[in-house]
């Protein structure tokens, strides 16, 4: 083992019960997940795939957003991995549009892990696809800590959720590449304060590009597609 060595007992000098010996470990608790995510990322890059990891609270409209994306951008021949706690309703909804969809039922696990994505990807025909969408479990806490091998992390938040969502779940928002504000068609009816949300997003996650959309009406989706297209253009070309 090269990642571990015995270090001096001097580190224990401030303790009066220095009975043991210290072994340096220095290993990430999620190192195994990270290793698999790295393998996933290389695999997807070799296929020329752009991979989205889509996260949100339950009920933000992830599935509606993805259904709209799959419908409008059938040219991308997207494949979808759907994580859900117990049902396959979301996968069924997305299959209706003709997309290649596999379901991961996590059985109560609150997030997807890289190994689950790897296994699900084995069940998809990825050759010829340009986009792989991973719909994570509806949860803004745990999925933040698990790299799946995605190229873009997309955090969805809807106008009904409160403008302080980024302040409540900063860990998730800090790791976002894109933030999509959904249900903008009902913003006025629910008294949504766009400026407050944008201010909070700018404070918590200045690195993220923010979009306002309605998955239901399609409003704002073209700006998202334009951004996605720019990203697709930079995705690695398939090998061979």
């Amino acid at each position: 083992m090269t990642d571990r060595r015995t270090i001096g007992i001097s580190l224990l000098s401030d303790r009066d019960d220095d009975r043991g010996r210290l072994l340096e470990v220095e290993k990430g608790v999620l190192a195994r997940n990270q290793e698999i995510a790295t393998v996933n990322r290389a695999r997807f890059a070799a296929l020329g795939l752009t991979v989205l990891n889509v996260v949100s609270s339950p009920g933000s409209g992830k599935t509606a957003f993805l259904a709209r994306l799959l419908h409008d951008r059938a040219d991308l021949r997207a494949a979808v991995i759907v994580g859900d706690l117990a049902t396959d309703n979301d996968a069924e909804r997305l299959r209706e549009g003709g997309a290649d969809v596999v379901q991961i039922t996590t059985g109560g696990v609150c997030h997807l892990e890289a190994a689950m994505v790897s296994g699900a990807a084995d069940r998809l025909e990825l050759a010829g696809k340009r986009l792989l969408i991973i719909e994570n479990v509806g949860n803004l806490v745990c999925p933040a800590a698990y790299d799946l091998g995605e190229g873009l992390r997309v955090v969805l938040v809807s106008v009904t959720e409160g403008e302080d969502k980024p302040l409540k779940y900063p860990r998730m928002f800090k790791t976002a590449d894109l933030v999509v504000i959904n249900k903008i068609d009902i913003a006025e009816a629910v008294g949504f304060d766009a400026e407050a949300l944008h201010t909070n997003l700018e404070a918590v996650c200045p690195q993220a590009t923010v979009f306002e959309v309605s998955a239901r009406t399609g409003e704002g989706m073209p700006a998202f597609y334009a951004h996605l297209d720019r990203h697709l253009a930079t995705a690695a070309a398939p090998l061979g």
Partner: protein, 115 residues
């Protein structure tokens, strides 16, 4: 709430390190938890007290080293510590917010003390 699975991984890493060193028991496990690791220290401690049962770490203490969030300000070319529970990383020199995280996301087993 995934602290139990995190705690199990912590115990696994500690037990592996102890076994590699042919140690019998683990007295203490040191973990480094970033302010934005997405793990609650209290919940991790509770989960650890369960996850250690039936392992060589059965009586081990968990020692949590908290690592603050540190971000980098591009215009000032300086790192700065973020003391804000929402993680709003405003540079103390120029006031610009930064999304360039340098530390505070880590979740690592740093050491084990064994006999």
């Amino acid at each position: 709430m995934h602290e139990l699975s995190i705690a199990r991984s912590v115990v696994d890493l500690a037990v592996q390190a102890a076994s590699d060193d042919r140690a019998e028991r683990i007295l203490r496990v040191g973990v480094r938890v970033g302010a934005f690791a997405g793990v609650d220290a209290g919940a991790l401690d509770t989960a650890f007290s369960v996850a250690r049962l039936g392992t060589p770490a059965e009586a081990a203490e968990l020692e949590i080293e908290a690592v603050p969030l540190v971000c980098h300000c591009e215009s000032c070319a300086e790192d700065f510590e973020v003391d804000d529970r929402h993680g709003i990383a405003r540079c103390p020199r120029c006031g610009v917010t930064s999304g360039d995280i340098r530390s505070g996301m880590e979740l690592e087993v740093s050491f084990v003390e064994v006999v």
